[in-house]
Symmetry: C2
Subunit: 337 residues, 2 copies
């Protein structure tokens, strides 16, 4: 067990969900601290029925913290993680900054738990669009060895933070009223639109978000031979990312086998009855920790392919839930450094 735990970025949207999850799931600890930028320090938060004051994130604050779960922008994570390590504090980090560091395991507990146990003080949680995809890939990869993935995403504005949410709501109201809205989080209007760019131009015409899906998938499965072609698109949905996924496996997996494999995977729920109009949709998956899969069918374009539709709450399994599960894994396996 970790005696003193902390949430770094406690006043953010994901930080708030981490706090709720630690409370709900009765995460074992004796003391808890809430850390944030100087601007948010002093904010009052309730936890376990008591009021807590948010403290400023400084190097010294880690002196008596054993485990920190961080959800901050990349530049903050770059700065605070070494502070924590210096004091022997284990960090589970939600940011993108440490994910591809060869000394940092990148973990989805249902997929590669053992990697977490070999940590050197820092464990990274993947990008939201990667997490739900690799969770869906896992049973198929184990059963038939995935060689190729083609994925198109339908990503919610909550992935762009509180400003993204605000943009969707205010921008939509403005559009309905024929008024103008100055977008803060998006380079183009998101109301009643699709924006086929998330992140910056990165590699061969792919965006940084798309390349995360490629590289993080390789790292999590420890297999760079899995070929991934992603298209990441922002859609006017508030929360929960959807993904249209096609996988090709070395050994053919039938639709019935795939459905049974998905149903037997912890963290996955199958909702799949097209005739009855049943499949996962963002509005139905909001606030749930599962990754939902439906529209499971044979790929009409290859002999060893499967197509399916995958929806998950990007703030929960795509961020807060996965980080808390990593911390729980460390406690369960006694890997507390």
């Amino acid at each position: 067990m970790f005696e003193t735990i902390a949430i770094v970025g406690a006043t953010g949207a994901v930080g708030g969900i981490i706090r709720k999850l630690l409370e709900e799931r009765k995460f074992p600890h004796q003391r808890i601290k809430f850390l944030a930028s100087k601007r948010s320090a002093g904010t009052k938060l309730t936890f376990g029925g008591a009021e807590h004051t948010v403290e400023e994130l400084t190097p010294e604050v880690f002196a008596d913290i054993d485990l920190a779960i961080g959800s901050t922008p990349d530049d903050i994570a770059k700065e605070f993680v070494p502070w924590a390590k210096q004091h022997g504090c284990v960090v589970v980090d939600e940011s993108g900054y440490w994910r591809m560091d060869p000394n940092v395991p990148l973990v989805v507990p249902e997929v590669n738990p053992d990697a977490a146990l070999a940590h050197k003080g820092v464990i990274a949680s993947p990008n939201c669009s990667t997490t739900q995809m690799v969770l869906a890939m896992k049973p198929l990869h184990d059963a038939g060895r995935i060689r190729r993935v083609v994925v198109s995403t339908y990503q919610a504005t909550s992935g762009a933070g509180v400003a993204g949410q605000r943009d969707l709501e205010s921008g939509t109201r403005a559009a309905l009223d024929g008024a103008k809205h100055d977008y803060e989080a998006f380079a183009h209007p998101i109301a009643f639109n699709c924006i086929p760019q998330i992140g910056s131009a990165k590699h061969m015409g792919y965006t940084s978000e798309e390349m995360k899906m490629v590289h993080e998938t390789h790292k999590i499965f420890g297999d760079e031979s899995i070929r991934v072609c992603p298209t990441c698109v922002r859609v006017p949905v508030s929360n929960c990312h959807s993904e249209s996924i096609l996988v090709e496996t070395e050994h053919k997996i039938s639709v019935d086998e795939a459905r049974a494999l998905f149903a037997g995977t912890p963290g996955v729920k199958v909702v799949d009855d097209l005739g009855a109009g049943q499949y996962p949709m963002p509005l139905d998956c909001d606030g749930d920790d599962h990754t939902f899969i439906g529209r499971i069918r044979e790929d009409l374009s290859s002999d060893h392919g499967l197509a399916f539709w995958c929806v998950s709450d990007n703030l929960r399994k795509g961020a807060a839930t996965n980080a808390v599960q990593i911390a729980e894994l460390l406690v369960e396996r006694g890997a507390t450094v």
Copy 2:
């Protein structure tokens, strides 16, 4: 030239655009008639500066009509097309009913114009999601022979007619106000949601909309060996369908070659500068007759693949514009029966 022309379904959304296009493009004719259901008969419409009264769609009305462009539900098209044929009236039909009839050519003028010229009185215009895709496929197929397509769509509510449009607007207002909306055109809420079903369950877990993309593509290219795996999704966008398309060709086509091929294709506009945030988006393509292509890049998951993003106004090139272009083709080539 056709002396007397008619629009069947003249009071519908697509019928209205056909009327506008015939006017704008100065479609040659001497008389024009506007036909609709008994309920809409008597409605006044302006065309060429004059007021016209909508007439009821009956068998007899076709006696003096030479060309009819129809945009009606399938069951109406099933009924009226034989009436027109009996009177020697050529029909360009927008509905789904006649598309796969072996005696009916299915035509996108930029792709397979010759098929139109061999008509036996009826020519069908494809489903909106097919039209923009085959137009994008055409230059790549000619240059490198397409073997496989994986496509995920982001389809606008205008594809579900006026009721779909109304549902999006009213449903979104209700969602913003925390109120309830009874959806008319959709089985699930479309406001701030994605619905991975368009049409009914049809074949092996695919929907009717998805199977249209498969079968119509085969018919238009006259090549059933092109393997197509579609996922059709309704998104909260008012107008213009977007498609994330991956094609594999027999002969490799580079990104630069593809860009040049697209740029040289009539009806296509390339908007492709990711670094500058330039790519097609539904809001920008609304009301335009072109099919827009961007995000052109090498497929990271195969050696002979290309990925790109394709947006087109589903009421224009996806419906009205394509039908009017077919009619123009008949006039130009003198194929007026």
